[in-house]
Structure formats: structure tokens, C-alpha cells
């Protein structure tokens, strides 16, 4: 079902803490609840369930503090785990999402590397959900070709006249 695609999001970040501690921040529910999530959300501790091992899982709920009826359920099925070094899995996002957003799943890989002076380098790769990636790279290429043309056009238009627009109300 999951086709092999190149990752879409690649983030590298250095943290001023030893690797074991950064790994713990991702794999211990008490720790994750302290820092993860969109602003304005909380992670109820009693809805967190972690079983971190290959074939295990991490599950939690993100509750919108201002609108508590908006509850997002995150289920990560862990496919590959190396203690202190690697977390890889598929994140399933469901529940009451913002309007216009369908439940989706995204493949996620997090690597923990030692850096000098007891620091840790985090490397995160995240893959677009299948339904968004669907038109594949060819679709993206066409889209960006179109974007190029639009931009060239827009510059030419902007150069020789100022658009005046009236919207019927």
C-alpha cells in the first residue's frame, strides 16, 4: 500500500542535552506531554499509552484547550526502534480535526546522533500522506512548471499595468 517515495520534510536540529535524555523526551509519556504538540493543545496523561519497541506503539490525544471538543488522536505504529538511536513508524492522525482536514497517516523517522560537547543532533524525516502525495513527483513537477509560468506572467503583468479590481459585494 505504501509506495516508496522520497521524504517531503527533512529537519535537522541540535539540542543541548545528552542523547539519552533527548531520546527519553520522545519515548517517555511524562516527558513528551511536557513539550509536544500544537500551541494551545494539551496531552491528557491518562490518554497516553506507550510501548516503545519494534512492533510497538505510541498513542496519545491532543486536546484543543479553547475548544475541548476538538480532540485529535495520534497513533504511531513503531516499525523500527533502536534504543537511544532511532524511532521509525507510521503516525495515524484521526479524531475531530480542524474543518477541511481529513484523517491521514504519515511515515516518520527520527534519528538521534551524538554531537560534540554532550549535545545531540536530531534528524527528522516525514513523508506526505498518500492522498496528498498521490499525483506523485510527476504531478509536483507539473505543478511547479505551472508555478514558474504563472510567476513569469505575473511579473510581466505587474510591470506594465496596475490591476484595479472591484468585487461585487
Amino acid at each position: 500500500m505504501t509506495t516508496t517515495t522520497t521524504e517531503q520534510l527533512a529537519i535537522t536540529r541540535i539540542f543541548d542535552a545528552p542523547r539519552a535524555l533527548v531520546y527519553q523526551a520522545f519515548t517517555d509519556p511524562d516527558h513528551l506531554a511536557e513539550w509536544w504538540g500544537p500551541i494551545g493543545h494539551s496531552l491528557p496523561r491518562d490518554e497516553m499509552e506507550f510501548d516503545v519497541r519494534p512492533g510497538g506503539f505510541q498513542r496519545w490525544t491532543e486536546v484543543n484547550v479553547a475548544q475541548p471538543e476538538l480532540r485529535v488522536h495520534i497513533h504511531v505504529d513503531l516499525t523500527d526502534v533502536a534504543d537511544g538511536e532511532l524511532l521509525e513508524g507510521v503516525m495515524h492522525v484521526s479524531g475531530r480535526l480542524q474543518e477541511g482536514i481529513e484523517p491521514f497517516e504519515t511515515r516518520l523517522r527520527i534519528e538521534f546522533h551524538d554531537e560534540a560537547d554532550g549535545r545531540t543532533r536530531l534528524e527528522i524525516r516525514q513523508w506526505l500522506p498518500e492522498h496528498l502525495a498521490h499525483p506523485s513527483e510527476e504531478g509536483w513537477r507539473q505543478a511547479f512548471t505551472k508555478l514558474d509560468a504563472t510567476l513569469t506572467n505575473a511579473r510581466a503583468v505587474a510591470a506594465d499595468h496596475r490591476e484595479v479590481e472591484a468585487w461585487p459585494s
Binding site: 523526551a25 504531478g139 509536483w140 508555478l147
Partner: protein
């Protein structure tokens, strides 16, 4: 630090992410994900003027996130091309989520390292 894979000039991506860096414009894109709409319909959820919405639409159009067409008296806006806009919105949201969370993770780790001065760093257990 962050990269989006399709081989495209960073200038184009700047336009794309610039267009999505604004909450109102993200709201417009999310509304258009449901279906096309007139400027009046798009303005409804926001407490800003029609000309202001119109300016946001121009930014989105320049980033090729939307197209606009004339239908009788009305101009309709729609996502274009759908996959690109939806994917860009999704990426922008996750980029933001990680960035925001990392700030809090920094703070959390700083608290932990000040609480437990050195014990962990010397004995790194579990390393072969």
C-alpha cells in the same frame, strides 16, 4: 534546516511558504479545500474587509496556490492545482508544529539537565 523535496528554486518555495505564513491566508486555503468560493463567502468567517480578503487572494494567486475565474457577475476562487496547495498547506503546518515544539523541548531539556547535574553523561548505558 528545512527542505522540501521537489527540485524547485528556493525563490518559488519562499513565495509558497510566504503565502502560507499568514493565518488568514491559511484559513482561506483550508476553506477552498472544501470547494470553490466567492470573495464574499471567503470573507464571512473573518472580521476583515473585502478589499483585504482580495489582497490575500492576490498573494495566494501569485504563489499559484489558487486560481480565479469569472462566473457571470461573480469571481470564484479555487485551489490550484489541488495537490500542490493541499500538500503545501500540510507541509507548512508540520513545519510549524515541529518548530514550535522544539522551542518547548529546549526548555524541557534545560530543566532536566539542571535538575540532574551529571550522572547520565558519563555512563551512557546501552551503547555497544
Amino acid at each position: 534546516m528545512l527542505s522540501v523535496v521537489p527540485e524547485r528554486s528556493s525563490e518559488d518555495l519562499d513565495l509558497l511558504f510566504g503565502a502560507l505564513a499568514d493565518a488568514t491566508r491559511r484559513g482561506i486555503v483550508e476553506r477552498l479545500a472544501v470547494g470553490e468560493a466567492t470573495v464574499t463567502e471567503l470573507a464571512a468567517p473573518f472580521s476583515i474587509s473585502l478589499p483585504a480578503i482580495s489582497r490575500h487572494l492576490k498573494v495566494l494567486e501569485r504563489a499559484a496556490l489558487i486560481t480565479r475565474s469569472q462566473k457571470g457577475r461573480w469571481r470564484h476562487a479555487r485551489l490550484s492545482p489541488t495537490s500542490l496547495a493541499a500538500a503545501a498547506t500540510w507541509l507548512s503546518r508540520y513545519e510549524q508544529l515541529w518548530t514550535e515544539s522544539f522551542g518547548r523541548l529546549d526548555d524541557h531539556l534545560a530543566r532536566l539537565t539542571s535538575e540532574q547535574p551529571t550522572p547520565q553523561t558519563q555512563t551512557e548505558k546501552g551503547r555497544p
